[in-house]
């Protein structure tokens, strides 16, 4: 009987207009965001660039932050994320003077000298521009950087930068945490080779692509399934079928449990179908690279990374609809989703914490993934447990209402 009901619930979900729109959104998102594939290539000695890697060298960290500060100062345009939300800050003259003083202290140069260096760099860019048949191209020039004055300690640097962060109102790139997490340096051949080996051996190629897939779809699956859940949860009420269904023999646990599973299945199914294409592509690439491919890597990532997001958003849809009635769940989840999205707004690779949307917007970078793996497991497990708990409470509330408790003037709603 359980399977029959599960099937009927799946059909009901999939026949709704909401589901059609849901599937369209997923396809559109896939085509626009994951339509093009970056091919993983084995690094060769003497290559122009091997990409960048996060640096744990304090000198590099300070140099990167100081250079960023100079560039922002020149444009008087500073990007901050107070409470996780993007904000562009423009400083007044007095505040810019504070930044000038910090720049002078940390670089050991006057602001005029720094400005001159920056103007010279811009001029260099302009001069390196070459018009070709394919359009404008830039010649190879050294990227702009501000050198640190000798004798500046890390503690002193952090102290000075803290003043800048205060002037900017907090949440800037100049906090100690972000100074550490946003210092990138060019990879050496050896580093690139090591990264490549990890992609081949540990990720079996597919894993690297699956992470990127999960990063993108993690954003969608943290919010979209809530629409399906709310549509299902309010259908009985809208059809005025609450009482007739409530009077049937089936237990509340079985009824809502099956509805929940059906909604989760309906929500994840289009993503599973869409994942087949990149999984096949990754298999092909692995074969070309001579690597041993694991086709089921996508399945593992989907189950471990994306399924908890679906479980959580579907639960939230059912829970808030049962608690407040109507589409309150959508509003609440939209707010939570926005907060989650902006929390990791400035760092898109390796942000996990307790965020509903863990980010890993990079292809490869297996070392970073290894360093956050445990965090990710804890995060996903926590959301899966929270989802099951929320659903258990939903069933409990539904059962109470079904037996006439917590209802107003005898109206079952």
């Amino acid at each position: 009987m359980g399977m029959t009901l599960f099937w009927k619930e799946c059909v009901q979900n999939m026949k709704s207009l909401t589901y059609l729109l849901y599937v369209c959104c997923m396809i559109l998102f896939f085509v626009t965001q994951l339509g093009e594939t970056t091919v993983i290539q084995e690094p060769k000695p003497g290559q122009e660039s091997y990409g960048t890697t996060l640096s744990d060298d304090k000198d590099v960290q300070m140099k990167c932050a100081l250079t960023d500060l100079m560039e922002s100062y020149m444009d008087n345009r500073y990007t901050t994320y107070p409470l996780g939300f993007y904000k562009e800050v423009q400083l007044n003259e007095t505040e810019q003077t504070t930044v000038e003083r910090v720049l002078e202290t940390l670089s050991g140069k006057t602001i005029e000298e720094l400005k001159e260096e920056f103007t010279a760099y811009q001029q260099q860019i302009e001069e390196s521009m070459i018009m070709t048949e394919e359009g404008m191209k830039f010649g190879k020039i050294q990227p702009f950087s501000v050198a640190l004055d000798t004798g500046i300690s890390y503690q002193m640097f952090i102290k000075e930068m803290k003043q800048v962060d205060q002037v900017l109102g907090g949440g800037s790139r100049f906090t100690e945490e972000r100074i550490k997490s946003e210092a990138y340096e060019e990879m050496t051949y050896e580093q690139a080779k090591e990264e490549y080996q990890k992609i081949i051996e540990k990720d079996k190629v597919s894993g690297a692509y699956a992470r990127l897939f999960c990063d993108y779809f993690g954003i969608m699956l943290a919010i979209m399934p809530v629409f399906l859940a709310v549509t299902r949860a309010v259908r009985d009420r809208r059809a005025k079928a609450l009482e007739v269904i409530g009077s049937k023999e089936i237990s509340s646990v079985k009824l809502l449990g099956i509805r929940y599973l059906a909604a989760v299945t309906a929500a994840i199914l289009p993503v599973v179908c869409l994942a087949v294409f990149p999984a096949m592509q990754a298999s092909y690439l692995a074969k070309n690279l001579g690597a041993k491919n694991d086709f089921w890597m996508y399945g593992k990532y989907l189950a471990g990374w994306l399924l908890p997001s679906v479980l959580f958003s579907v639960s939230a849809g059912f829970f808030f609809s049962e608690l407040f009635g109507g589409a309150a769940g959508i509003l609440i989840m939209c707010v939570y989703w926005l907060i989650s999205l902006f929390q990791s707004g400035y760092q898109l690779t390796g942000t996990v914490g307790w965020n509903l949307i863990p980010r890993f917007n990079s292809l490869g970078k297996t070392s970073i993934f290894e360093s956050i793996f445990l965090q990710l497991v804890v995060n996903r497990a926590a959301y899966a447990i929270a989802a099951i708990f929320m659903m258990a409470v939903t069933i409990w509330i539904y059962d109470k209402k079904r037996k006439g408790r917590w209802i107003r003037n005898g109206k079952y709603s």
């Binding site: 009987m1 007739v244 408790r405 079952y412």
Partner: protein
């Protein structure tokens, strides 16, 4: 299993408001009518009996099962709520099939029961039509069919004829009588005609209390001698209405043929008034009038 519903001193409160006030009733096999004005507590009683609402106090046993055993109660009760509806996008058959699954019927049983019931309620031609296109009467018939899916011992129907046209209403009453052959059918209504046409055993409910419990014949006997007929002018009508409880009126040009209640059965109320046989509506209104006089 004993086919009997027993209510002992049942009360139901919504906060400070009393919806059911010490109700004691025994309902036997066959049709049983629950009559009362709007707001009398009929729907509350129906919901308590279907375990959709808890009683505040008292005892209820349905065919020997205490009302607290929700799952068992739901397996023996079929319920047609006042405003029955189902997912409009489902076909009649799909809707029945879905509710059949919720009633715990296996595929074989559903395949047998659904066409049988759709035939019984005369909806077999509509089995593939969407529920949303059904008329009010058809929806009620579908409601009855779904309530009978699991062949319940007790069928509870709440205001099933409200809003139906006269033809549908008669058809529906006949259907209920057929169904009541081998089960308890509890019909709640504020339409006296429904009771008159279908029930012998009835209870009359007002403000949560039982005003009357007995047969229709006994109810009629109570009102015997107190119902009069007269032909009055339209000017006189207002005076009569102010003094007596008028139970029926038929307009006849400048005059009106009225039926009314006279408390004192020994006197003739006024010249031209003639004592007549009470019908169920007269008897019901007589009872209500007596209650108001108290």
């Amino acid at each position: 299993m004993e086919k009997r519903i027993i209510l002992k001193d049942v009360c139901k409160n919504y906060g400070k408001k009393t919806a059911l006030d010490h109700i004691s009733l025994t309902i036997e096999n066959g049709m049983f009518g629950l009559l009362g004005p709007n707001g009398a507590g009929k729907t509350t009683l129906m919901k308590v009996l279907t375990s959709l609402q808890p009683k505040t106090s008292g005892e209820i046993s349905m065919c020997g099962i205490p009302i607290e055993k929700t799952k068992k109660i739901r397996s023996i009760v079929g319920y047609l709520p006042q405003d029955f509806s189902m997912y409009g996008t489902m076909s009649v058959y799909e809707g029945m099939d879905y509710l059949g699954v919720l009633s715990g019927l296996n595929k074989k049983k559903r395949k047998e029961r659904i066409p049988e019931l759709l035939k019984e309620v005369n909806l077999q031609e509509y089995r593939n039509k969407k529920i949303k296109i059904l008329s009010g009467g058809m929806k009620r018939r579908l409601g009855i069919a779904q309530a009978l899916l699991h062949d319940p011992e007790v069928l509870i129907v709440d205001e099933p004829t409200a809003g139906l046209d006269p033809e549908e209403r008669v058809r529906f009453r006949n259907l209920l009588c057929e169904i009541a052959q081998n089960r308890i059918v509890l019909l709640s209504t504020h339409i006296v005609g429904d009771i008159e046409a279908t029930c012998e055993e009835i209870a009359i409910l007002k403000e949560g209390k039982i005003l009357y419990r007995g047969t229709v014949t006994q109810l009629l006997t109570q009102a015997e001698g107190a119902i009069f007929e007269a032909e009055v002018s339209r000017i006189e009508l207002e005076k009569v209405k102010a003094r007596y409880c008028v139970t029926g009126m038929i307009s006849q040009g400048r005059h009106v043929q009225i039926r009314f209640v006279q408390e004192d059965k020994t006197k003739i109320p006024f010249e031209g008034a003639v004592r007549c046989e009470p019908n169920v509506e007269d008897a019901y209104l007589y009872l209500m009038h007596q209650e108001e006089m108290r």
